[in-house]
């Protein structure tokens, strides 16, 4: 056995888990890693086609495919984090026979991987669209990176919470994917809050994913105004998310692993 510090062990386990997740998810497929682009491409094509036949742009000055791309990528990332973390404990139970691997590592590896997929798909698909002539000047790369980091913490907190929920309250775990469906339509993937009559803003703007997507669009496109996007709300929501995620995980993790 090699003598390692706790931080060193954490790093080793995270890297090993990442490699393992990549191999099991994409490794055995032909063109393996290209498949992770498939889902965003399908969404973008479908909605672009829909709006093309309806005529006009979704948002003035921003090509429709790019507008959808900037909305669908954060959403898919969030959706995957939620659904994968609900099953993270049961799917990795065999690994808990190695004392270094705990549910935290399983969740962290999955969230890190989803964000890596998010970033790679974003860069590749944006470049691909620019190459075929669909382009828009990029607004603010620093704002994008800051938001990316914030969103990562946001998703990590929620995933830690949901890995506990998924294992301890399987009934609630069945409900959450069902709730994700309406949330998909309310998160501004193919609209902006500016398109919605103001009397509905009170209700819709409670949804943090809507703000995340609006903020991503403001970071990406100079033409996007993002009047109603509230970065303060997202910062506070992220702090709450990671605080409660870590707290609930810390209270419950032994209960997740041990035999009962």
């Amino acid at each position: 056995m090699i003598d390692r510090s706790p931080l060193h062990i954490q790093r080793d386990v995270l890297l090993a888990m990442l490699i393992r997740e990549l191999k099991t998810r994409f490794g055995s497929l032909k063109f393996g890693y290209a498949w992770m682009m498939l889902e965003p491409i399908i969404h973008v094509t479908l909605f672009s086609a829909l709006f093309y036949f309806r005529g006009g742009e979704m948002y003035p000055g921003i090509p429709t495919p790019l507008f959808i791309l900037a909305g669908i990528l954060p959403w898919l990332c969030f959706n995957k984090c939620v659904t994968l973390s609900l099953a993270a404990v049961s799917a990795n139970r065999g690994l808990f026979n190695y004392r270094q691997v705990r549910p935290f590592d399983a969740v962290l590896a999955r969230v890190v991987l989803e964000f890596a997929i998010f970033l790679v798909s974003f860069v590749v698909l944006f470049a691909a669209f620019t190459w075929v002539g669909i382009h828009s000047p990029f607004n603010d790369i620093m704002a994008f990176l800051a938001l990316f980091f914030l969103f990562f913490v946001f998703c990590l907190g929620i995933s830690l919470l949901f890995c506990v929920v998924g294992e301890r309250y399987p009934e609630a775990a069945k409900l959450i994917p069902v709730l994700m469906r309406p949330l998909y339509f309310m998160s501004g993937i193919f609209f902006s809050l500016e398109h919605v009559p103001p009397q509905y803003h009170n209700y819709l703007s409670w949804n943090p994913m809507l703000h995340v997507i609006e903020l991503f669009r403001s970071a990406c496109f100079t033409q996007f105004k993002g009047f109603y996007a509230d970065s303060g709300f997202i910062v506070i929501f992220t702090i709450f998310s990671i605080f409660f995620g870590l707290l609930i995980y810390r209270v419950n993790w032994v209960e997740l692993v041990r035999s009962k």
Partner: protein
């Protein structure tokens, strides 16, 4: 040394709680091989897994300054769609083997497990014997101060079993074993200290033979209560 303080562990059986250990204390001195015996359901495997840091008690703690292995020959952590090599790589990486050390580990496992081309095939194509060989090879290749053995000390065909026994004899020079087994021969051959888990609690015997005698005695008393069938 492994020290157990105030260990309590229970399982829910229907509406009741069934206690395996209640506020149990024990000290296992260094440099001794430990045999754990008791009837089915007495908590032998649970104790083994708690000592290995894999399972957790309801209360109490285990302290040790030694490294303790995962249960020897365990194949539950393998991912079926990954090859034997990939699975071995993962377990090596978790234990801190990267780069050159990882390569050496893989060579050792490949050499010991004798899987041939199957080492680069998905584990789901393995027979159960091949899985055990891979798992055993991995256990052998990573060094620990204590190895946990849950019944499985040798796997595979006669030739491979002999090889396992030989390598365990070698290991005994540098490491110790904590063994759960129902075979008294295995325990007598491999252990110094005997831990007997009974309904009344835990007994640590300095000599494995006294623990075995105690266990077999209790067994006899129980079997004398069985009504003899008319011939």
């Amino acid at each position: 040394m492994i020290e157990i303080q105030g260990l309590t562990k229970s399982y829910r059986t229907g509406r009741r709680r069934n206690y395996l250990f209640r506020d149990m204390d024990a000290i296992f001195p260094s440099g001794k091989n430990i045999g754990i015996l008791g009837r089915n359901g007495a908590g032998k495997s649970t104790l083994l897994r708690i000592m290995g840091g894999i399972d957790y008690p309801d209360a109490g703690r285990i302290t040790s300054n030694k490294t303790i292995s995962w249960p020897m020959g365990l194949s539950g952590g393998f991912q079926g769609s990954m090859t034997g090599r990939e699975n071995a790589t993962f377990i090596g990486q978790v234990h801190g083997f990267w780069g050159k050390q990882r390569r050496r580990l893989l060579e050792q496992v490949e050499d010991f497990a004798e899987l041939g081309d199957y080492f680069d095939m998905p584990v789901k194509t393995y027979s159960s014997g091949m899985r055990s060989k891979l798992a055993f090879g991995l256990s052998i290749a990573v060094h620990f101060d204590y190895y946990l053995v849950d019944e499985v000390m040798s796997v595979g065909d006669a030739h491979f079993r002999a090889k396992c026994e030989h390598v365990i004899e070698e290991k005994k020079k540098t490491s110790n074993f904590i063994i759960v087994a129902h075979s008294m021969g295995t325990l007598r051959k491999n252990c110094d200290i005997g831990v007997y888990l009974s309904k009344d609690g835990i007994e640590v015997h300095e000599d494995i033979n006294t623990a075995i005698a105690k266990y077999e005695n209790t067994g006899k008393q129980n079997s004398s209560n069985v009504k003899k069938l008319p011939v």
